[in-house]
């Protein structure tokens, strides 16, 4: 093994809090390896660090004939229920509002190259995902990301997921104002916030600058913000129309209006109040009804709004609610080149095709946004480095990911466009057709997702190839239609808001199962995901290209002048829409058309045998279990520091571990205890020590005294002996905390 480590090398470059979080996680991995951490607790812990399970991680794979064991070494070692330690997994990386710098792209490419399969995948929520990652590589992977200011914290699990925002925010011609700094402030404020640690399910926020375009998709989010300006006493006041309870999934819900106008200085406390109401009243045990949309539907939006308002009044003041507003005036993106105009340059026809679909004229004269159209949202490490250089040359830090799985370069000086196009083309990144029918969105599906039923990516690749081949001859009416594909009903591919959407399912024919896609027509992408499509029936996966042709041909033939696809579907109705696909719904016998019984890009005979348990399913873990696990990791870190002959650090960590354990216990009764050690110790004393709830049958209050003594009289010069003693005491204290909690019975539950 090497004598050097990323931990040491990057020490100065990582923000201290991010570095500490990774150390804690590494400690938890170690504890898990020693069998000292509950598997469910560890599963939620790693999910909250963005480390997700991947297909076959239960050690079983269907090879087309039967399910077989994958003979991983140490097969008894797990990283969660039914999830083998050595099985590769997915690392999700949060990218708030999709904003990336070239330096971040460089490091993302390096970690993809070293720990994954050298492919970066852009998701439908502006994240980056890496696949086939071994869990033991994740701490260094996170450290390297932390060194360029990226965290994977709360990228998965029952937490506030990536905060998305229109990729055009700030340069858009129709926006009210730039929502970016608000999205950023929101993401920072709620990251790791106490009030978002006890959700029954994930929570997805989105920001949008205007009502009519699609970009922010606020109507399909748990919490959505739409920029608004109103006049108060002759002055312009900024704020947001706030929506709550939207979501796709099996049962899509349109978000409801929580408030017509929330002033900018109120959005963070209001979000905090929403989080508290959701944590307190949201469903915890039945994950199928645990998203906030079900709570809003259950109590009604009026009552939900009232609850939020009441909660808002009880919130202890937090300076961060408005502190970021002072920086807003200085928030601006800087172009790297002066504005110019595209005038008189030689324009090749290939450039013109690309220009038509991939270039958006910014509000700012002389500048454009260029969309790098990524096939299936993928790019290689090598392409990423080159793209980072292209960005440095033309746009500096103004790079964003999009919810359509592309990357955009903002602030391209117009006269640079032809050269930029050439450079992108040389990298294999100059495909035209961004945002058109060939730019198909697809979730990972059966390629890597444990819940996938059919191959969304395989189908997307096939459709992309076929449609691109004939793109020059496609009628104008269908060029801009959106096709979106999910591998199952969970809707990660956002099929509900596509003109033509598909989600994977299966049907039986004789003794065999056949991959199918449910066809969903007429969803509305514009108007922030304004309405959801109509499910009209399921067709065999292998017929989908023909199904697309049939539907689009009929639309071209039958549409009235100016009639949109949604209007046409609305006009012909579900029955007629179904009749369009009816001829494809027949199921051939295996013997006659065996190719129908395997999926796109996968020659194995189709099976549902590989579907696993989604990592958000089923198990219930208490908030106490999650928080005490952090305390235990710090105690572990303290031992490591002692082994490294650093008694000062060991002493500090052992003390911190005790405070965290006390806090975990206090928070079973009093969620708002905050982070101040004085307050935590005081609350612990009043609630558990003075009441003797914490007392051991024989040792009485002895373990509690360990905390009080260290808290009141910190050791100014700890040596190896004293640090060692304190570590022992912290372990006993943590143990006593466990005993007390099981005696008293925690009341706050988390669902995995």
């Amino acid at each position: 093994m090497s004598n050097i480590s990323w931990k040491e090398i990057l020490l100065e470059e990582m923000p201290a809090d991010l570095a500490h979080e990774v150390d804690i996680f590494e400690g938890q991995m170690e504890l898990m390896g020693q069998g000292k951490l509950d598997e469910k607790v560890f599963a939620e812990t790693r999910l909250r660090r963005g480390i997700y399970g991947q297909r076959y991680d239960n050690g079983q794979r269907h090879d087309g004939f039967e399910s077989r064991d994958l003979a991983f070494e140490e097969s008894e070692r797990i990283k969660g229920p039914d999830t083998l330690w050595h099985a590769p997994g997915m690392q999700r990386i949060k990218v708030p509002f999709g904003g990336l710098t070239p330096d971040q792209l460089d490091v993302l490419a390096q970690v993809a190259d070293e720990y994954s399969d050298s492919i970066l995948h852009v998701t439908t929520r502006q994240d980056i995902q890496l696949h086939f990652v071994h869990i033991e590589d994740t701490p260094d992977l996170m450290r390297r990301l932390a060194s360029v200011g990226i965290t994977t914290r709360e990228a998965c699990g029952n937490s506030v997921r990536n905060v998305t925002c229109c990729h055009l925010a700030g340069v858009c011609r129709t926006e009210v104002f730039d929502a970016t700094p608000y999205a950023d402030a929101f993401a920072q404020f709620l990251l790791g916030h106490d009030d978002v640690q006890d959700f029954g399910r994930k929570f997805k926020p989105a920001f949008s600058g205007c009502e009519n375009e699609a970009c922010g998709l606020v109507m399909m989010h748990d919490l959505g913000y739409l920029a608004q300006v109103r006049e108060v006493d002759g002055k312009q006041q900024r704020g947001f129309k706030v929506f709550v309870g939207g979501g796709l999934g099996t049962v899509p819900h349109q978000a409801k209006v929580l408030s017509e106008f929330t002033p900018e200085d109120e959005i963070l406390p209001q979000a905090q109040a929403v989080a508290r109401v959701f944590a307190r009243l949201g469903e915890k045990r039945n994950r199928n009804r645990a998203r906030i949309k079900f709570l809003v539907a259950k109590v009604g939006i009026e009552e939900f709004s009232r609850l939020v308002e009441e909660e808002r009044k009880t919130l202890p003041h937090d300076d961060r609610w408005s502190a970021y507003l002072d920086t807003l005036a200085h928030y601006e993106e800087k172009p790297t080149r002066p504005p110019t105009f595209l005038n008189g340059q030689v324009r090749l026809s290939a450039f013109n095709r690309w220009f038509e679909t991939n270039v958006y004229k910014q509000r700012q004269e002389g500048y454009s946004v260029v969309t790098v159209n990524l096939p299936l949202g993928d790019l290689t490490s090598k392409q990423t480095w080159a793209l980072a250089d292209v960005a440095r040359k033309y746009v500096g830090d103004n790079v964003r990911t999009t919810v359509e799985q592309n990357i955009i370069l903002r602030w391209v000086s117009d006269a640079d466009l032809p050269l930029l196009y050439e450079e992108l083309t040389a990298l294999g990144l100059g495909d035209p057709g961004a945002g058109t029918i060939v730019d198909i969105t697809a979730c990972p599906g059966t390629d890597t997702c444990k819940l996938g039923i059919a191959s969304s990516r395989g189908l997307a690749a096939e459709l992309r190839t076929r449609l691109t081949t004939k793109s020059a001859s496609l009628p104008d009416a269908i060029k801009d239609l959106k096709i979106k594909i999910s591998g199952c009903f969970n809707s990660c591919g956002q099929h509900h808001v596509a003109d033509i959407g598909f989600f994977g399912n299966s049907r039986r024919s004789g003794n065999f199962k056949m991959p199918h896609f449910q066809v969903v027509l007429g969803g509305r992408w514009r108007d922030n995901a304004g309405s959801y499509g109509l499910a009209v029936g399921a067709v065999p996966s292998k017929t989908v290209p023909e199904v697309v042709d049939t539907i689009t041909n009929r639309y071209v033939d039958e549409r009235a002048k100016g009639e949109s696809f949604q209007e046409w579907i609305g006009r012909i109705g579900k029955k007629q829409a179904r009749s369009l696909i009816q001829p494809f719904m027949q199921l051939p016998a295996f013997e006659r058309q065996p190719e129908f019984f395997s999926d796109w890009g996968d020659p194995r005979v189709f099976s549902l045998g590989d579907i696993g348990i989604g990592e958000c399913a089923g198990e219930v873990v208490s908030l106490f279990s999650m928080e005490i696990a952090t305390a235990e990791s710090e105690a572990f870190e303290a031992q490591v520091a002692l082994d490294e002959s650093d008694p000062t650090r060991a002493d500090a960590l052992a003390y911190s571990a005790m405070v965290k354990a006390a806090r975990a216990l206090v928070r079973t009764q009093f969620l708002d205890v905050g982070d101040d050690p004085n307050r935590i110790v005081q609350e612990f004393k009043t609630r558990f020590f003075d009441t003797e709830l914490f007392f051991d049958q024989y040792a009485k209050g002895k373990f509690g005294q360990y905390l009080f003594e260290r808290h009141q009289s910190p050791n100014q010069n700890p040596d190896i002996d004293s640090a060692h003693r304190l570590i022992e005491e912290s372990l006993l204290f943590i143990e006593a905390t466990h005993v007390c909690e099981s005696k008293v019975g925690g009341n706050v539950l988390i669902e995995l």
């Binding site: 093994m1 090497s2 050097i4 480590s5 990323w6 090398i9 297909r55 076959y56 794979r61 090879d63 087309g64 004939f65 077989r68 994958l70 003979a71 991983f72 070494e73 050595h86 590769p88 460089d106 490419a109 390096q110 190259d113 070293e114 399969d117 050298s118 492919i119 696949h131 086939f132 071994h134 096939p375 299936l376 993928d378 790019l379 290689t380 090598k382 392409q383 480095w385 294999g428 390629d447 890597t448 990516r457 395989g458 690749a461 992309r464 190839t465 890009g601 996968d602 020659p603 194995r604």
Partner: protein
Amino acid sequence: MIAPQRLSLKFYFADISVDVEAFIPVFHRWIREHVVSNELLLDVADYKHILDGPALFLIGHTADYVIDMTDGKPGLQYVRKRELGTDLSKALEMTLSQALNGVKLMETDVELRGKLKLGADAATIAFVDRLNYPNNDTGAESAQAQLSDSLGAVFGVDASITRVDNDPREPLTFELHAPSAPDVDTLINRLQARKALCGQ
């Protein structure tokens, strides 16, 4: 010298008359039939929609086999990613041995036989480990010496190793030129003889 985090070795197709698609069922069969007896194979990942990149992965637990089209030069890349041991020379020998085994399996595969040929007279070797082998002059010299030693003995006296002048963000990379390299079987035999000689 220490073994890197990952070590990759790419041999180039001297001849190929099938497209990437043809490897998909082959790789699935390799998984099903445990064709690589000393490695656990897991899955097939299809990226052929990406231009000039790694097009198809046979993902394994310890190593991946990649039909790689990077820079428009199709080849079979073997990426050793786990269980490299601690010593570079042993890691190199093991990676070479497994990569050659992969070449042989591919050339003799029942569905591919006669449809492709991998050249043994050139290869690209990458140290995918920026911690221990940053792509600069510091680590390159000794890595190059070790490569010359390990590969020279197998590929012939006129085999040469040159460092690739690539972007410093990319892995430290070398090229092997071995004009008089014998066929794959001979290479495998030589490697085994060398191992026996070293008492491994």
